[in-house]
Amino acid sequence: MRIVMFNQDRMGVVSNDDTVVDITDLLARYNPLGPEDLLPDLISHFDDLRSNLDERLTAGNGIPLADVQLHSPLVRPSKIICLMGNYREGTDRPLQVLDLFFKSPEGISGDGDTVVLPPHQADIFHHEAEIAVVIGREAKDLGTSEAMDAVFGYVAFNDVSARGLGRSDINSFLGKSFDTFAAFGPWIVTRDEIPDPQALQVTVDVNGERRQDYETSDMERPVEELLTYISSVTTLHPGDVICCGTNHQGLGSMQDGDAVVTTVSGIGSFTIHVKDDHARSWQRGVDTAAGERVKAAARHPVGARNGGATS
């Protein structure tokens, strides 16, 4: 099933003929305070709602996708957890220690939205396409055998990133938390539609030119392991999202006027437009230097620590 948010604050499911069926009224019984509650409520009560949803889909009368305005299917998740460097990227180095950061959930954008580059003097702004896992229930200390049951579905994600801000002596991730920099789309597909998240292709095209193009089989730690580890640290809630990291080979700039298309096989494509009031420009095409820096850093891991080796 494909779940969307559309036309401001409506929730819908997309039928096989690519029409959107409105299901917002089915969620009224859970007393949402606002559109941000619709997804967690849908997820929490999905089994109860399933037959209603199927009835709506069968009844049809949906609006063609081309005639609705889509938004991010995640309106305001309570946590956006992002993996740092979770792809091998053509190196044969030993497994890196797992690390993660949190991205501001105020910064959401979706299909057709504009990512606004801030005036801050970043070295460059990069796209980072990823697959993201939407959590299906409250979860803590998930065991290996139950981890995938805690997945509601998957969504395509772009971790838009400003480089070179913050301190020079520590890697700053705050440049990923600017408003509009968390791009999700075009919809959430339920888990049953993706039998193997380690068998997907992720691509980015900017103004029609291919940039990132990688397989999730190259992921260092698979989704199941991310779920067990992350849930051992923090309690996960329905609608929380774990973004599985990017393969940095193929990163490129995002600059004024660009149309950036993020695609994940089995999920779909979404487009974000880039606006920069300062009309800064960078080289177009793939930022190979950035890719090389990531590979080099992986051979000489930053901030190597004694002990505490965790998986």
């Binding site: 007393n31 305070l33 509650d37 309570s78 946590k79 957890i81 740092m84 890196q96 220690v97 797992l98 690390d99 993660l100 950061f101 949190f102 991205k103 501001s104 959930p105 105020e106 910064g107 801030p118 801050h120 803590k140 801000l165 913050g166 301190r167 020079s168 002596d169 520590i170 890697n171 700053s172 991730f173 705050l174 440049g175 938390s177 600017f178 408003d179 051992s232 640290v233 923090t234 309690t235 809630h237 891991p301 930053v302 901030g303 190597a304 620590r305 004694n306 002990g307 505490g308 080796a309 965790t310």
Partner: protein, 297 residues
Amino acid sequence: MRLVLTADNRLGMLREGGVVDVSSVFDDIRYRAAADRMPRVMAELENRRSRLEALLERGELEALPALLSPAPRPPKLIAASGNFLEGGIGERKPQDMFLQSPDSVIGPGSEVVLPHHDVTIFEHEAELAMVIGKRSKDLPADERALDALAGYTCAMDIAGHGLGRIGPSRIGKSFDTFTPLGPAIVTTDEVPDPQDLRIALTVSGEIRQESTTRDMEYTIVELLAFASSYMTLVPGDVIMCGTQYRGPGALQHGDQAEMTIERVGTLAVSVSDARRREWPRGIDQDVSARQRAAGTA
């Protein structure tokens, strides 16, 4: 005004060591859980001040009940990196901040549960925290920024070191129970000069951290301007202002950690560890020395 959330889900104002129930002033606020109630209450705090002050004056005083954190599961939990002059002189380092898991928040009198993960040490960091009351973006770095605040509270930013690979450790700081916040949201009128507050932390009666917000590298309003230049701040957001590194030490099973910030309050928690790991008691001189040498968080 000093706003608290009681363990039986009532809103109160602190007065003379007790509390006055002010739930009736916020009767109209729809909510589904404490986590979405408190931001809505905080957004209304200043608007309803005269009703609250009247109730505070006339209302029945009850003995202080068990409290929850007044900022449970904040929309954003933001930490300032470093941000204390560690006795070094020279140019200020650029500002930086990072987000932690909102699920790490616990309230006064709660238990910090050390997780089973292998760490080099668990440490405490006593910090002043500010709680946002108004949706804000691009705040100015002057006293006008204080209008965006609902108030201040105490924060213990607890960290497990030796996890992850790039510091500061978001994993190590994001364990459930690792961010005690409370006991109250203290409105800005009660804290005329937030840049002149003593912060002290004791562990099982022994002094560990003693600092003053005079030593903050970046002031409250500079932190607000910086954070809001990146992200829209929303009611309920918490920004922790950083800690002084002379002083952090280990936390281990059986410890009682208590911090006090002048005018803002006292926050106490206990510590448990199923693995019963032991570290030397007292101040961790290694980490203090390293921070002073590097001048980094």
